[in-house]
Symmetry: none
Subunit: 231 residues, 2 copies
DNA sequence: TTGATTTAAGGTTAATAATGGTTAAAGACA
DNA sequence: TGTCTTTAACCATTATTAACCTTAAATCAA
């Protein structure tokens, strides 16, 4: 499922360029030219993230941001500010959005910031952590489900079947508790393994593989199971 | 008015468990065991959200999802996928639902995702204080619920599962009274522990951990419970 | 009513039990 | 053979129990 972007922009020419550029990267973009129409759009387009130009014809972008924030408290918002905006306005908006970008901006920067925000609010649904075509983003790591590869920067580590199974289960439930017995049943499917130390061995290995990014952690809930934390 | 959930599930045993669990949290649940009957149900039960098992006897859950989506474009849909589902099927469903959860899932996760999609705010009562993204500020301390970390200035203390559970209960009720038996039931869930000194041991530990800021205190109400005071 | 005494609840610390972590070696499989 | 999985042995951490100590409320005597 593509990440949905609501993009509020009155300069249609710039808007089209940004929209197409985002779409070419796999985002689903809904562009709105008039600030007054925005809240109506939410009726049939629930975005994963909002991009708001602060200079809008009918309403101030910051006000709009506050309205959105009130209705959807966890929805990430990025403000786009013209470089003529004064610092005072910037200061004033500290309450509102999650990020802002000065125009003119590069698409690289915009996309990086979108990814950043979507990865940070880790409890959003599904692919917020980034699953697409069997690719799961886990902090600075990339886990390729099909190839059983765990990539970090330039290095690629081939995972074994068991390693991959376990990592997949953890990743599927990231930021939630997975009971030990659930993992056991899913991987070994057998009660007789319940006193084996097998799972522990693989947990140790994954922790070792994931050591480079401390925002990725496997937390033990003794007597219960594990929690795979990904910021 | 209770949130209405339409739950399509052919495994009746699992279904009953999930249904009762949801009902115990205040949801109104209509369970349907046969995919072919689903659209008829909408005649007299208009849900706020749909839970669809993708492996159904008469129809594919994804098809069903598309039908529902067509008739009710904004109705949130969560797919429940069995572990045997292949990745291809997952890829195929990109058009459909708003979220998916792999079986087996925890009720916590299911409920969190339902809340998330419906934008229902706090599933935990009493978090009016400074909680955001699982971060609770307690005087000069910062308690990270997800990472089980208690931070004070530069130092970070990893909490164990029990320590974190207890601190969370106290923090959720900060500046109010929590009865001893409430804590006991929530953490140990068992009357037989009522004469154990277990809770006292953990209270001692938390007091020790929280010693640095005297505006944070755990006060004993003898014969009743505790009061977690945070200025 | 006041202060001493009793008593039950909780505090503290150490010991024990249970669970998980780590590492290496043995077994299984291709 | 070489790689992956499992087992085993040992270590570390966490949870629970136990023993003993402290405190606050309740009771009782004057």
């Amino acid at each position: 499922m593509a990440t949905k972007v609501l993009y509020v922009e009155d300069e249609l020419f710039l808007g089209k360029i940004v929209q197409e550029s985002l779409e070419s990267r796999g985002f689903e973009v809904q562009m709105v030219g008039d600030g007054a129409e925005v809240l109506a759009v939410f009726e049939n387009f629930m975005p994963d993230i909002c991009l708001l130009d602060v200079m809008l014809p009918n309403r101030n972008g910051y006000e709009l941001g506050e309205d959105i924030r009130q209705r959807f408290p966890t929805l990430p918002i990025i403000f786009l500010t013209a470089k003529t905006q004064t610092e005072d306005v910037l200061k004033g908006f500290t309450s509102g959005g999650n990020d802002y970008i000065r125009k003119p901006f590069s698409m690289e920067e915009l996309i990086a910031r979108i990814h950043n925000l979507l990865n940070l609010s880790g409890q959003n649904p599904g692919e917020t952590g980034g699953e697409q075509n069997g690719i799961i983003h886990l902090g600075k790591y990339v886990f390729d489900l099909r190839k059983y590869e765990l990539r970090f920067q330039a290095q690629v580590r081939k995972l074994s079947h068991r390693e991959a199974e376990l990592l997949k289960i953890l990743a599927d439930h990231r930021n939630f508790t997975v009971e030990r017995k659930v993992i056991m049943l899913q991987i070994w499917g057998d009660d007789s393994f319940f006193n084996s130390r097998n799972l522990d061995v693989y947990i140790t290995r994954l922790r070792d593989y994931l050591r480079e990014d401390e925002r990725v952690q496997i937390i033990t809930l003794k007597g219960v199971g594990y929690q795979f934390i990904v910021d």
